[in-house]
């Protein structure tokens, strides 16, 4: 049994050995395969995997920066920050979100709708990312929340800061902040690395213009986290950087005063320093409550805003377009003088209407003004006189002057809501309307009707540039000491028109650009405006200031909404008796004081009727307020001058 199988056994051993050899070779190959894989993972791709490992390991929580504040000229905060109490929730820390919601509902005031929204956010976000349940709760709610905190797993009470506007008088110029929308993230590049849940950004006005700088730099906390998202330890904290604060040229007291004055009307008021272009006041009415936007707008309030026919959300001072009406007559006269079309003493007879090109053109004074020269034309705002001047001047030369004085283009920089308006001419009409210019339209343009469209701020700038002797200024709203020496410039030039500027005044690279050919023409216009406000028969004579300190020179205007029918004209229908929507817009521009111009003002009252009746009284009060505060402003200004 044993011996025959002995040879058998040897053969078998050899067979086994042979097959083992094959296996060993296979093992060597597999082993080298594994080593190759190790080389590829641990040597060739180690950087990639190290990055991935760090990505696992570290997680960052962003910290919203504190928004910079906005101050007025006197360093009063007009857009400030306040402490707010918020409720945040980290979903993964809560065992049962639904149960938590039920409990939260009994403690806070949360609607079913809000819960629906929160559920959607939770489903979209990573479970460790905090969501904001409520971003502004009262102190009593906050303390109640803290009391029950032990049974609210995942809930974090947070004390944060949020935008707060002390007053709504400046709501339009300041704008408002609100939650970042998906569209904002798409369109605003600077938000790309900035976005933190719950962060507010500027949506309109200065808040929008300054957003990039005022928003600050985002901070973050870097934690080491485990696979379940639990924070193991804090690795790094970066507080971020609070946004830059800004000082503006606005005067909060004047803002409040003006806002109160026009609160029941759909109106706008602009006040500007005639030398350096500082905007002292820019108010639009009716206003809205900017604080309502900060913590998510109430739907009812929003609806009340957009349904209001007085359009409270529109900043009428820069985004409202109105025909300049008779306020343009100053420029029509100036343009005619500059182009040598008329002489100041050239006269024309106004009989209440004029018939030209087969059309009747009416003067607002049905009985006519009689013999009218330039001064009287402006003083009485005689339409027939200006039809004649415009006819001789032509619309193209008028448009040139109007553009030079700042009409038809945006005045400010970076306000998305600002509109440019229209200064019509023959080319413009061909291009935008596709028709030839009719001569009759020149006459309408001559009294600021027809295609003419301007904002109250543009009219204020126009007036300021007349008041300062005809020099170009660049309006501004952000305070800037360095470019503040224009006053000396212009005053020197006004007093010594023929001398070159002394070199010690040439501290700025600002070019002093005269808008006139002959400064005498500017003075003629200024004088005519004086007569309009301060001499009997002037359109705003009734609202003059006798006190030299406040005496202003102005020009009224009313821009027609609807043409009067012949029947209405015959019946001498008064503006007051028309339906609100059909009444003219009342306009008034002025500068003060007359003897030493400091400020220019423009007032618009939508559907207010005539400028003299509706707009001039407002201007009168605002002028007084502004001039009363002039000395204080001057003092601060000189103090700041020493600092710089």
């Amino acid at each position: 049994m044993f011996s025959p199988s002995s040879g058998n056994t040897v053969i078998k051993s050899k067979l086994i050995g042979r097959r083992m050899f094959l296996l060993t070779a296979a093992k060597a190959i597999v082993t080298f395969g594994i080593i190759g894989r190790l080389v590829s993972l641990q040597i060739n791709e180690r950087t990639k995997y190290k990055t991935l490992s760090d990505k696992n390991r570290f997680r960052e929580w962003k910290l919203a920066p504190e928004r910079g504040v906005i101050r007025d000229f006197f360093d009063k905060e007009i857009a400030s920050n306040q402490q707010v109490y918020q409720v945040h929730l980290i979903p993964e820390n809560s065992k049962d979100i639904e149960k938590l919601f039920v409990r939260l509902k009994t403690i806070l005031n949360i609607t079913e709708k809000k819960l629906f929204y929160l559920r959607r956010v939770i489903a979209k976000q990573k479970p460790w990312e905090p969501i904001i349940v409520s971003d502004n709760i009262t102190w009593s709610e906050f303390s109640r929340l803290n009391l029950f905190l032990h049974e609210l797993e995942g809930v974090k009470p947070i004390v944060s800061v949020a935008r707060m506007y002390p007053d709504n008088s400046s709501a339009h110029i300041l704008g408002y902040v609100s939650q970042v929308s998906a569209k904002d993230l798409q369109t605003k590049k600077y938000l790309k690395d900035l976005h933190v849940p719950g962060m507010s950004i500027g949506k309109t006005g200065l808040e929008r213009k300054l957003d990039e700088e005022i928003i600050g730099k985002i901070g973050f906390q870097r934690y080491e986290v485990n696979a379940y998202g639990k924070r193991i330890k804090q690795i790094l904290i970066n507080e971020g950087q609070a946004g830059k604060s800004f000082k503006t040229t606005l005067d909060f007291e004047v803002q409040k005063f003006t806002s109160e004055l026009i609160k029941d009307k759909a109106a706008a008021v602009c006040v500007m320093d005639v030398y350096n272009g500082d905007i002292i006041s820019l108010v639009s009415s009716p206003t809205f409550e900017p604080n309502e936007f900060v913590h998510g707008l109430d739907k009812k309030y929003w609806n009340s805003l957009i349904k209001n026919e007085m359009k409270p959300l529109t900043n009428k001072a820069i985004a409202g377009l109105y025909p300049p009406g008779s306020t343009i007559k100053t420029l029509v006269a100036l343009s005619a003088l500059e182009n040598g079309v008329i002489k100041p003493l050239d006269t024309f007879k106004c009989e209440g209407k004029i018939e030209l090109y087969g059309e009747k053109f009416h003067c607002w004074e049905k009985d006519g003004h009689g013999i009218v020269n330039l001064r009287k034309g402006i003083q009485r705002s005689c339409d027939v006189y200006f039809y004649e001047v415009a006819r001789k001047l032509g619309v193209d030369r008028l448009s040139e002057t109007a553009k030079k004085f700042g009409l038809g283009k945006k005045v400010l920089n970076g306000f998305i809501e600002e509109r440019a308006g229209v200064v019509p001419n023959t080319k413009w009409k061909k291009k935008f309307i596709g028709q030839n210019w009719y001569l009759g339209e020149t006459l309408h343009s001559g009294i600021g009707q027809g295609y003419f469209q301007s904002t109250p701020l543009q009219l204020c700038l126009m007036t300021a540039q007349i008041a300062n002797g005809g020099f170009e200024i660049k309006p501004r709203i952000i305070f800037d000491k360095k470019n503040n020496n224009l006053r000396e410039y212009i005053k020197y030039k006004n007093e010594n028109p023929n001398d070159p500027l002394p070199t010690d005044l040439l501290v700025s690279n600002f070019e002093l650009k005269p808008l006139f050919k002959n400064q005498e023409h500017i003075n003629l216009i200024k004088d005519a405006m004086f007569s309009s406000s301060n001499e009997p028969g002037g359109t705003s004579y009734r609202h003059r200031w006798e006190n030299k300190k406040f005496t202003f020179a102005g020009k009224t205007g009313s821009s027609q909404i609807k043409r009067f029918t012949e029947a209405q004209r015959e019946a001498e229908v008064k503006q007051e008796s028309l339906p609100y929507k059909d009444r003219d817009h009342a306009l008034f521009v002025a500068y003060a004081p007359y003897s030493d111009p400091k400020y220019a003002i423009s007032v618009l009252v939508e559907h207010g009727g005539s400028g003299g009746k509706a707009a001039a009284p407002i201007a009168k009060k605002v002028i007084k307020k502004v001039l009363e505060r002039h000395e204080l402003r001057e003092r601060i200004d000189s103090l700041l001058g020493e600092q710089v």
Binding site: I16, I35, K50, S53, N226
Partner: protein, 374 residues
């Protein structure tokens, strides 16, 4: 036959101790110490449950290995069918009295430890087939009727284990058995035929797979398919190994395992943890230890005279190699995650026990290398 008996009986205790393969013993011991180090790291650098229990197991079973080395090779030969039957009964016991954990029934509660008979069966089947083919003459080897018994003893435990369900272990048991049969000289065509039969049955087998097993295979084919679900393990394991770089993140510094990104770090992914902390050179070190162990086992197979010893050593050595590479390829993303421990390094008493049993028999082949078995 008489001469052989005399050689065996003439071995003194000293001879036996001298004849032990010390390179193998030392390699296993170093590997054991390394495993304790790794276990200590999985416990976050503290002597906690896993570390303590692993140390205990290693030393107990290492002692067992040394003791078993001195048991006569003849004993293993004569009792191998019985051992197989004992393990098979234990497997059946699992089916009826087993403990269920995370969806599968694999363990028997023996009060002092939870035994996983499927691990023991890895060695049991090799032992059975080594004896069977030792006894089968070369003429009969490829006769179809001599193939029945091997097929039955292979298929029966594999099906039992696969239905626990534990696909990984079932495949590894089958791999060990097939290796022995092939080494013994069974013709390749039989493997080809059974391979085809297996492929034919595959669709039916797939229908028996649990959803998680199907998902694992699909995930292996495309790990990014579901990065937070089934692919998560493979991705995190690759990140851990890759981020280890050349020299590793340092002992106890493996952030992937420390922060729990690594799944099953005590068991299947222990190599990943080691690789992350000790880098490429650490990985090579482990690979080298395993290579030495396999080399020594094969070498013992070369010197042992009986075909039973050769078949067992070659079979076990190859199976050991397969366990190692399957686990490594798994954590390196070269194979689907099937759940197979790394010999000695992984946490787990049954696996340690089975490996030490196998090594004990191998060492017995060395000590009694010239002793005929029958």
């Amino acid at each position: 036959m008489f001469r052989a008996r005399s050689i065996q009986s003439s071995l003194s205790i000293k001879d036996k101790i001298i004849s032990i393969d010390y390179i193998l013993v030392i390699s296993i011991f170093i590997l054991g110490l390394t495993s304790i180090l790794a276990m200590y790291s999985t416990d976050g650098g503290e002597f906690k449950y896993h570390t303590k229990s692993h140390i205990l197991r290693f030393f107990v079973f290492f002692g067992m290995f040394l003791t078993l080395s001195f048991i006569q090779i003849r004993f293993w030969h004569s009792q191998s069918y019985l051992i197989y039957i004992l393990f098979f009964v234990l497997l059946l016991g699992v089916k009826y009295f087993g403990l269920t954990s995370s969806g599968s029934k694999r363990w028997l509660d023996l009060y002092f430890m939870n035994l996983q008979p499927s691990e023991l069966m890895k060695v049991g089947l090799i032992l059975f087939l080594a004896k069977y083919y030792h006894r089968t003459s070369i003429e009969n080897l490829n006769r179809v009727r001599y193939l029945f018994l091997p097929i039955v003893v292979l298929i029966a435990p594999v099906i039992l284990v696969a239905t626990q369900p534990d696909l990984g272990t079932a495949l590894l048991i089958a791999a060990g058995g097939l290796t022995v049969a092939w080494l013994a000289g069974v013709r390749v065509k039989f493997f080809a035929i059974s391979g085809l039969a297996f492929l034919a049955l595959l669709p039916i087998a797939i229908s028996f797979l649990k959803p998680y097993q199907k998902s694992r295979i699909l995930t292996f084919l495309n790990p990014e398919r579901d990065p937070l679900g089934a692919g998560y393990q493979i991705i995190q394991s690759k990140i851990a190994i890759g981020s280890g770089g050349l020299f590793g993140k340092g002992f106890l510094q493996g952030s992937q395992s420390y922060l729990d990104y690594l799944p099953e770090k005590h068991t299947d992914f222990i190599f990943t943890l080691f690789s992350e902390e000790f880098g490429f050179f650490g990985s090579l070190f482990i690979l080298l230890l395993y290579a030495i162990i396999v080399w020594r086992i094969i070498k013992i197979g070369n010197v042992t005279r009986s075909n039973f010893g050769k078949l067992f050593c070659y079979g076990f050595g190859t199976a050991f190699f397969i366990y190692v590479v399957v686990n490594m390829m798994m954590v390196l993303g070269l194979l689907p995650i099937v759940g197979s421990p790394l010999p000695i390094l992984s946490y787990g008493g049954s696996s340690m026990m089975a490996i030490m049993l196998g090594l004990g028999i191998v060492m017995s082949c060395k000590v009694y290398k010239d002793t005929p078995v029958n």
